[in-house]
């Protein structure tokens, strides 16, 4: 499509006619991103409509930045990286990245989006000690060295490192991306370097914050969508100040994509997010109060969702969940108490626990047998998958499990047939869960019954997410339950960092993760050889060639399958996704995954559109 062929959006027509808004051709970049529809059920659509969806707390409006998924580079449905906001990018040896912007691209307030926005971020935000006491984020640092940032011209920026930084581009495509640009024209008024001191002081006083840095931080939130004044590049812009119980996101008139018919995206005029108690989300979907919903729905809701389909005009799709395991047990290798610590570190114990779980029973009792019984590893859909990763030590075998435990010397039993430790205490695992629904505790209950047959007790402890984490980080929790690998379908060019002790929030080895994360300032160095090996492999991956990367991934996955640092249960549980019958271009078969995938993000909600209502109530 060429400039003259663009079609004005009906919803904006009035503003354009009134001269408040420039016409569509002037709003789009010189070279907008042209969207082609190919594939089953995909078609160019028409403008209009309101997409209703539900969130369980105000803070969840940040998911709009995930669903919107406008990134410098994004991934397509096949997880391939492509320039999105950027016109193009030049990559030299994963070291030198030259980013080319789209001329004429504008922020949602109409101000041009230029290299200045990158410079401002780099010079005045990241490298301002008051705003960023910790300096640049980890993604910027390669062996402790930050990039050289050059502004080539208004449309070109270059980042270069002495050694490769392969994660740099990937970081741009994540569900929660590394935002390396800021709307400088807007934020400068809160920056001491640029703002008029008197006005700045007045603003500080008005907002009741303590100083300019706090004010800047308050206003600068590219991800959270909580500042209605902050210009954005996303398809929809938040128009409701929080707190509210209903957030309206209006279309971004300067969005950079068009379809082949010359219609500027997004098709849908506005997205309304209503804050709803989590337990009511299923009921509300059932009553037809959401047009697109996955969050807040779980497998056990499917039945009642199916029942409401005809009455309320939606379809319930079942997307496999993209995590490595629906629920994995994380034995805390850094647990503080003596006898248990040693036991948890004994691989025979972990294997016995895994062998002692009747995954088939779990699958049948809780998921109609539709899930896949597996370790916590990559999914079959991943190019890295081999069956051994999923099956090793995971077939139900209480006899072998008992043998393993006996071998460990845990032969003494008490009156109720539980094993007894040398110090006389009973062999019981306290498993902490932060799941407010009954799914995890039901599963744990089934596991508890299974483990009883191998003489191991299981106690369930309900906790808040935050408390659970805090306890794990302190080495105070023995074992926790959490979903498995975030990235269940990795490609070898994605970092295998989840598999190695890299960060504190890895519940199986928080101290070791913390150690790596802080560069040795806190935590403990990994002292299991396998963990050390994982760490070494992960570090090697960074500079390895593509083929080697694949080998590294596989080596790491093999270590996991053998060592069972986390104990998986079942994977590919179906996520019910409620989609209004009128909503087009939403995939019927897809994966529900945060990374990669950004949930709906890679399916591009800006391309979804509403078929006209047969009763002609189109739009609202």
């Amino acid at each position: 499509a060429r400039a003259g062929d663009y079609m004005e959006t009906p919803a904006l027509q009035a503003q354009v006619s009134a001269g408040v808004l420039p016409p569509v051709a002037a709003r789009l970049p010189d070279q907008p991103l042209l969207v082609h529809f190919s594939g089953e059920n995909m078609s160019a659509g028409i403008h209009g409509g309101t997409l209703r969806t539900l969130i369980s707390k105000s803070r969840d409006i940040r998911y709009m930045a995930v669903y919107g998924y406008a990134r410098l580079l994004g991934r397509d449905r096949n997880l391939r990286l492509f320039p999105d906001i950027l016109a193009s990018v030049d990559n030299v040896e994963d070291r030198i990245f030259t980013l080319h912007l789209r001329p004429g691209h504008k922020w949602s307030d109409g101000h041009p989006f230029t290299a200045e926005d990158f410079r401002y971020f780099w010079d005045d935000v990241v490298n301002n000690r008051e705003l960023s006491p910790n300096g640049p984020e980890a993604e910027f640092m390669v062996e402790g060295v930050p990039p050289k940032v050059e502004i080539i011209d208004t449309m070109t920026v270059r980042y270069s490192w002495p050694s490769p930084n392969p994660m740099f581009l990937d970081a741009q495509s994540r569900a929660s991306p590394l935002f390396i640009y800021r709307p400088a024209h807007y934020l400068k008024r809160f920056h001491r370097r640029y703002a008029d001191p008197a006005q700045l002081a007045a603003e500080i006083g008005k907002t009741k914050v303590r100083n300019w840095a706090a004010l800047h931080n308050l206003r600068d939130n590219m991800y959270n969508s909580d500042n209605v004044d902050l210009p954005t590049l996303q398809p929809w812009v938040n128009r409701t100040a929080s707190p509210a119980s209903r957030y309206v996101f209006a279309r971004n008139p300067y969005y950079h994509r068009v379809d082949a018919n010359g219609r500027q995206l997004p098709y849908i005029d506005q997205v309304v997010m209503s804050v709803t108690e989590g337990r009511l989300i299923a009921a509300k979907c059932n009553a037809g109060e959401s047009d697109l919903q996955a969050r807040g729905l779980s497998f056990s809701d499917i039945m009642s969702l199916k029942r409401g389909e005809t009455r309320s005009g939606y379809v319930t799709y079942l997307w496999p969940i993209g995590t490595g395991s629906q629920m994995a047990l994380y034995p805390n290798l850094n647990y503080g108490r003596a006898p248990f610590r040693a036991i948890l570190r004994d691989v025979r114990f972990r294997r016995a626990l895994s062998l002692g779980i009747d995954r088939q029973m779990i699958n049948r009792s809780l998921y109609f047998g539709l899930a896949t019984e597996s370790n916590n590893t990559v999914l079959p859909q991943s190019e890295l998958y081999t069956p051994a990763y999923a099956l090793q030590w995971s077939m139900y075998d209480p006899v072998q499990a008992n043998q393993l435990l006996d071998q460990m010397g845990l032969t003494a039993r008490d009156s109720r047939d539980f094993r007894i430790l040398p110090d006389g205490s009973r062999l019981e695992m306290i498993v902490e869960t932060a799941d407010p629904s009954t799914e995890q505790s039901d599963m744990l209950q089934l596991i508890a019954e299974d483990w009883q047959r191998i003489g191991v007790g299981l106690f369930i402890k309900q906790a808040e997410r935050e408390t659970l984490r805090a306890r794990a980080y302190g080495g105070r929790s023995m074992m926790s339950v959490w979903p498995g690998l975030d990235t269940g379908m990795p490609a070898s060019d994605m970092g295998p960092y989840e598999l190695a002790p890299m960060t504190q929030d890895q519940l199986q080895w928080p101290f070791w993760g913390q150690y790596t994360q802080t560069g040795g300032r806190a935590g403990e160095p990994p002292d299991l050889p396998q963990a050390r090996e994982l760490l070494a492999l992960a570090q090697e991956w960074r500079i390895a060639a593509p083929q080697r990367r694949r080998e590294i991934w596989q080596a790491m996955l093999a270590i996991h399958a053998d060592q069972l640092f986390t104990i998986g249960t079942v994977s590919q549980v179906r996520q019910p996704v409620v989609v209004s019958k009128r909503l087009r271009n939403a995939p019927t078969k897809a994966f529900y995954s945060w990374s990669p995938g950004a949930f709906f993000g890679i399916y591009r909600p800006d391309q979804f559109w509403f078929a006209p209502d047969p009763e002609n109530k189109a739009g609202t």
Binding site: M303, S304, K306, E449, Q462, A463
Partner: protein
């Protein structure tokens, strides 16, 4: 109109036999007061029946294991969300003893639901005084004796099963034990404290009253919600869930007394001014006796009403705790736990039998209430 004097009254003298001693037709009775109350109670049918019902329920508590057809932890993965079975007596027109028809679950993958097909040709007779699922009597002795059991190869789910295939009837029976026994701890604590503190404050007044009132205020204003949350983080998990629950009800009781205490105090401030209170003081009654024997009985109606009202709140208090992740943990089962599990749209729309545990709660609460009413009336001197 005649304004004059009325007709003179003729002088009447009764000639009926006159004896100074009075003939008393009443039976002599010097029964103690509680016996009188009991007598009167027996004449109130509703209250009496309620009382007997409660007695029966309480008497059954020690034998939950025997009464329940299944053991607490029994689970049958082939019968998930199975609906209640009806007990029949006649099969194809012929008496076949109490039996149920066999049924079988089929996964319906269109609607994601278990459909059960009843096999009208296979009858599964109930067995009585039989050996069935194995259990540990009072968590101690292994046994398998039951009042009623399913057919040897059959199942018996008179109230259906839940999502994990556990027999609802058995769970309700086990839940009764917990809910009715431990829940009373809370009420007792709350009542004892309320009567003690409210009584002292109302009776003594002055400094004691002031102190008690401040204490009440502080406890009332105490943020319960965060307190529970802090507790949930602090409680050791491998405490037996029962101990946790008992502890929590105790705390519920500890936090619950101020309302009643204020009411008691207010009422006592009035009652202590009554002459009969003064009379008791002049007889030498100490504060304890005066409050307990003279003043509080005059507040009995309110107390009884409060007690019958506390019972549901104690039984259900646990559901609120579960909401905060603090209630009983499986496998221990109480009515509260069962009700919490019923709290989802699926149960309401598709598996209504999951909500059946509401029935015993309502029954027991009503029984307590009617019993309380009867007791109130029986203790009322004006009736």
């Amino acid at each position: 109109m005649n304004d004059g004097a009325p007709d003179p009254l003729p002088h009447f003298v009764s000639h009926a036999p006159y004896d100074t001693g009075r003939d008393i037709s009443l039976t002599a009775s010097a029964a103690p007061q509680w016996r009188l109350v009991l007598q009167k109670l027996r004449r109130r049918r509703m209250a009496y029946v309620s009382g007997l019902f409660l007695l029966l329920v309480y008497a059954s508590l020690p034998f939950s294991e025997i009464i329940a057809p299944y053991a607490l932890e029994d689970r049958n993965a082939d019968y998930l969300f199975a609906p209640p079975q009806a007990v029949h007596l006649f099969h194809e027109g012929e008496f076949a003893g109490p039996f149920v028809y066999a049924y079988k679950g089929v996964a319906n993958l269109n609607l994601f639901r278990w459909d059960y097909v009843i096999d009208h040709n296979r009858i599964q007779p109930l067995r009585f005084f039989c050996s069935g699922a194995e259990y540990e009597f009072w968590g101690r002795w292994k046994a398998d004796f039951h009042l009623v059991c399913p057919d040897r190869n059959g199942v018996l789910h008179l109230l259906g099963t839940d999502r994990l295939g556990r027999d609802m009837l058995s769970r309700v029976i086990y839940g009764t034990r917990i809910s009715l026994s431990i829940g009373l701890i809370g009420i007792s604590i709350s009542f004892v404290l309320a009567l003690l503190i409210g009584g002292m404050a109302g009776y003594f007044g002055g400094l004691i009253d002031s102190l008690a009132l401040r204490l009440i205020e502080i406890i009332r204003a105490m943020p319960e919600l965060p307190l529970w949350m802090a507790l949930s983080a602090a409680l050791p998990v491998n405490w037996s869930p029962l101990a946790v629950y008992a502890g929590l009800t105790a705390i519920l009781g500890l936090l619950d007394w101020p309302g009643l205490a204020r009411a008691v105090r207010a009422k006592l401030m009035v009652l202590r001014e009554e002459d009969f209170a003064t009379a008791a003081i002049l007889m030498g009654a100490g504060p304890g006796r005066l409050i307990g024997r003279h003043l509080l009985p005059n507040f009995m109606s309110h107390l009884i009403a409060s007690a019958t009202l506390s019972i549901p709140s104690m039984i259900l208090g646990e559901t609120a705790l579960s909401f905060l992740g603090l209630g009983l943990r499986p496998p221990v089962t109480s009515w509260g736990v069962l009700l919490v599990e019923a709290q989802n749209i699926a149960a309401i729309s598709s598996y209504p039998w999951i909500m059946l545990p509401m029935a015993p709660v309502i029954l027991v609460v009503l029984a307590f209430n009617f019993f309380g009413d009867g007791l109130r009336d029986a203790a009322d001197p004006y009736r």
